[in-house]
Symmetry: C2
Subunit: 201 residues, 2 copies
Amino acid sequence: MVASGARKEQIVATASELFRQRGYHATTVRDIARELDLQGGSLYAHIDSKDAVLREIVARAAEAFFAAVEQLAGEPWPAATRLRAMIHAHIGVVTSRLNDATVFLQDWRYLEEPGRAEILRLRDAYEALFRQVLAEGIAAGEFTVRDPRLASIMLLSGLNALPGWFRPDGALSADHIAAEYAEMLLHGLSVRPLADEEDDR
Amino acid sequence: MVASGARKEQIVATASELFRQRGYHATTVRDIARELDLQGGSLYAHIDSKDAVLREIVARAAEAFFAAVEQLAGEPWPAATRLRAMIHAHIGVVTSRLNDATVFLQDWRYLEEPGRAEILRLRDAYEALFRQVLAEGIAAGEFTVRDPRLASIMLLSGLNALPGWFRPDGALSADHIAAEYAEMLLHGLSVRPLADEEDDR
DNA sequence: CAGGATCAAACAAGCGTTAGTTATTGGAGT
DNA sequence: ACTCCAATAACTAACGCTTGTTTGATCCTG
């Protein structure tokens, strides 16, 4: 084990940015050090291993996602309202913690065991939050979708691809994207046959 | 340059499978060779470089996607019908050419220039096929979605995450998934307020 | 002056790739 | 039919470089 000071924070943050940009395996521990004007070996006064840094980044992102979404899933609201809030919250985490979230989504599979298996479990528990709300919405007659598992996968797939194209200084704000995504997911791309305006938003 | 025999085919196919499973950088040229009971160096009688193998896999996948989808986009059908067909075709490629498609979607960014830039151009041209159909559908009053770019991104994000969870020997067939995805994307997860059954399918 | 942070240097291991050599093979010429 | 040759494909071995990590000395700073 090893110290946990402010320098370590810089190292993890720098690693998070480089992992996001280049991927875990294409980033060298010397790359990370150079960014902080250090020698490669100097990092090891603060970290245990490259894998431990990845583990920490991924763990942070996972915590952020749960902290933002878990409670919303249990609120006493209509399922559609909860789902909308969860979509906003999830996108909020991806966009506001872009480095950690991207690394989590893109490099978790390079974790060494048993960390990898642990994250896999967390991912499923997280997806279950959405699955659950979808299932409840179906039971309540709010949703027409047939398979809540398939729906939760598709929904999260859309949200989790954000790091591939979202630009923090771009024209589309996180809130705008969240609102549009929620609209498209809940009501679909097509016109609603034989229907006029709705209200739910 | 170097021969293009049947052995090369095996090498590229093996590389495609390993790249899919472990990722490009986590796969060694000696790993590929071992799978074929060869020594690492022996591959170089058939290939130019590891990067060239990746380039070939990615190029094959790109061709497959265009071959399956390009024509459908221009058919004289309603936009919703075309979009449905394109979703089926895209998922068909992902599931039937799982190795190549996964590597294309997951490792294209590790291509060396200028191959990487070229693929980036192809990706945009491909997304434009969907964007175009969406825009035409909006113009024709078939779609309510506001931003065809955002819609095409969300749609393709959902489809392109398939390699992360699809299992060829699983319970869900490619056609089943495609039908469900198309349904969810076109009509949304929610009940359609003030509407009854539709027909389009 | 003690303790943490950083350095330079090295470590063993692994990387993609090349070179030179040895089997294997399928015709061409007698 | 049988040799001989050229080509092909594989091997062993090594190259030069990079990887993650460790070591022991040196520097700062409180």
